[in-house]
Symmetry: none
DNA sequence: TCAAAAATTAGCACTTGGTACTAATATCAG
DNA sequence: CTGATATTAGTACCAAGTGCTAATTTTTGA
């Protein structure tokens, strides 16, 4: 049985959202209508053609890439940063980050946010975590907004090390704390 | 003055990296050569055509959106486990786990494997990481197969704690080591 | 029930940004 | 000057469309 026009258009819309790479021809055979019908549908719904859709996705990506190249490698959104001094990031805990069984966030997500922030705060092309001591102070749950603060507390230039103290809070309560020892390739300000 | 073939191709490459959305025609006028020359250049450098480039960027984006961080409950495949004793897991490092800049795996992936394993080895409905001290001993790269071993070394039943020693190796070389202090709700064997 | 309206299908010319291929020129180096 | 290399030109063809007209089918309302 064929769908009504409305139903088809609704499904069409969702299908294209799910997979913007689909051609009119594929859609036509999927919905058992002619290519022309699909085109009319797209027009009515103001859905651009395949190439324009792809360009859109790519352009979006590109923009994000350009201005978030350092940030792209980060878990959580960095909202404030002062290189070699401090940094702040937000991470919204969602269903997929918690144990189904008890709704508590898996430790490695909190660590990932912290570790990413520790890497980001270092003013260097390359920063690696060497050592870290961490405390999971209080369970975090889906829906919580975790704010991570990284503070550079010291350096050992001879060993190319930077020391960072990290605290994550939910509504002003500490949930995670850690010390990070990071390795950097170059000293501050070098090029 | 026109560039030499080599110079032009070098610039061409960079130009396309900087802006993959540029057409052959635009490139031709930019370098003051014919469109055909640009096409020959692209062929020699194996640079795909505009649409394929854009599709690549878009597809990359699409994938990355899905896999940017471990969503799965357990990171790595657990291949052997003896509850409350020891456990073993394998994690194959792929391109998406490493820094683009230097090809070294991001620390939180290694931590995630370790942490997942520490949680799994505990014979309890609910285990949480309380404290952890970790060392990133040696850089791990895409293509490496990381084998994590968790060993339960002690317990403090009065505090509901389990202590675990964890070692991750690549081809028998230690790359990551850590001690984990885990919290469990119930004692061993309880139900 | 039957005609008008709405929806669908068909067909054709044209567009972009190419590929694949052939052939003619231009340029440079020994 | 000649042969190799580089460049340009031109043709046919492709995918995935747009834009347009026209025909056919389906639905609906009086």
């Amino acid at each position: 049985m064929k769908y009504s026009k409305k139903e088809r258009q609704k499904l069409l819309q969702q299908t294209i959202i799910d997979n913007p790479f689909v051609t009119d021809e594929q859609l036509a055979s999927q919905f058992n209508v002619s290519v022309q019908t699909i085109r009319l549908d797209r027009m009515e719904l103001s859905i651009p053609e395949l190439r324009e859709r792809i360009k859109g996705v790519a352009a979006h990506n590109f923009e994000n890439d350009v201005k978030s190249l350092p940030i792209d490698e980060v878990i959580g959104d960095i909202i404030d940063i002062e290189l070699d001094e401090r940094a702040l990031s937000i991470f919204d805990v969602k269903e997929e980050h918690v144990f189904q069984r008890n709704g508590i966030a898996r430790g490695h997500h909190l660590f990932a946010q912290a570790n990413s922030l520790a890497v980001a705060v270092i003013d260097d092309d390359l920063a690696l975590t060497v050592h870290s001591e961490i405390h999971f102070v209080k369970p975090v749950r889906a829906g919580d907004r975790v704010i991570s603060k990284a503070l550079v507390t010291g350096k050992d230039d001879s060993k190319s090390r930077t020391f960072i103290e990290l605290t994550s809070t939910v509504e002003n309560e500490v949930v995670f704390a850690g010390k990070f020892e990071m390795y950097r390739t170059k000293g501050k300000g070098e090029k």
